[in-house]
Symmetry: none
């Protein structure tokens, strides 16, 4: 008797061990670190742009005799350039440090954790410089009839546009520094056990 | 045979369980909380003084005809008063919250932990207001010969002294806010297990 063809039982596949998901603690930390680097880069870039624009804002009016307008003619604008230069310098250093710790995790967590002190101080410096330069530029734009300060921007339009752009960029840098501090605080509070 | 006197083995004292030291986490937290309340009170007090001094800085010169000098004549000083009023209001609220959590520990730790967001924003606002008012007052004090802005403080000496005092106090408030943010960060980082 011809035996019935045996049903070929398909071999039960051994359950393939799924690749273990990476520990869930590393992933958010990486996002934080990437956001940290990006924010620091933005602060550096905006501080650099701000200083360059302010430094190149020279304009010379020829009538009736040549009178140049430069940022060095106002102490507030000199403070602005100094403060943004300091901010650019330190944000470059912290960007490099943050980037290095992103490439080699755990190399220098102790040092990185102290960057927030620099960020808070830079926030105070950049915000005050933005306020100082902004108020002087506003007086130059609108004048002040009570104390007889005339408008400057009617004569030096290009100079004032440079100032305005520079101050706008430094305002952006201040906002980025606020976000950077809050990101660091949030990242710290994530590490606290419930 | 007389047995040798056995050496009396001194009874091994059972190791007395030392009284467990109080959990070390509570004590520093209390110090932090006290420092937090004190710093917030200082911010509130200095913001209040700053606004009051600035608001009462009116001075009227009688020669040749009455011309009053008030802070409302400068947009930068108006921004200063608005910013310091906001800072005083929020620092009063956070002082009360912080004080309440000091009296009843653990009542509202979740809310208190978000005060740092307010502090960082207030730092940016107060620092920029200090810079804005400071630069306008500096122009009033020294003038600017390049653009023909005359000195104001030669005529309105008392007004300028009030402005200077108010700006100095708000600079103090900015420094207190920096310390407050750093204290919060330090207090957070203390809670992270090694």
């Amino acid at each position: 008797m011809a035996s019935e063809p045996e049903k070929v039982v398909p071999p039960v596949e051994a359950p393939v061990a799924e690749p273990a998901p990476p520990p869930s603690t590393t992933r958010p930390t990486d996002y934080f670190a990437v956001a940290d680097v990006v924010l620091r880069l933005l602060v550096f870039a905006s501080a650099l742009v701000s200083v360059v624009v302010m430094s190149t804002s020279k304009e010379t009016e020829m009538l009736p005799n040549p009178r140049p307008a430069k940022f060095t003619q106002s102490p507030a604008l000199i403070y602005f350039v100094a403060a943004l230069s300091v901010a650019g310098f330190f944000s470059l250093i912290t960007t490099l440090g943050s980037l290095y710790s992103l490439i080699k995790p755990g190399c220098c967590a102790k040092i990185i954790s102290h960057f927030i002190v620099i960020d808070v101080l830079l926030l105070g410096i950049v915000a005050s410089a933005t306020g100082a330069a902004g108020s002087v530029t506003y007086v130059g734009l609108k004048g002040n009839t009570y104390v007889g300060w005339g408008k400057v921007c009617t004569m030096y339009g290009k100079f004032c546009r440079y100032l305005g752009a520079s101050i706008g960029v430094s305002l952006f840098a201040s906002v980025m520094l606020v976000l950077l501090v809050l990101l660091s605080v949030y990242s710290l509070s994530k590490k606290i056990p419930k």
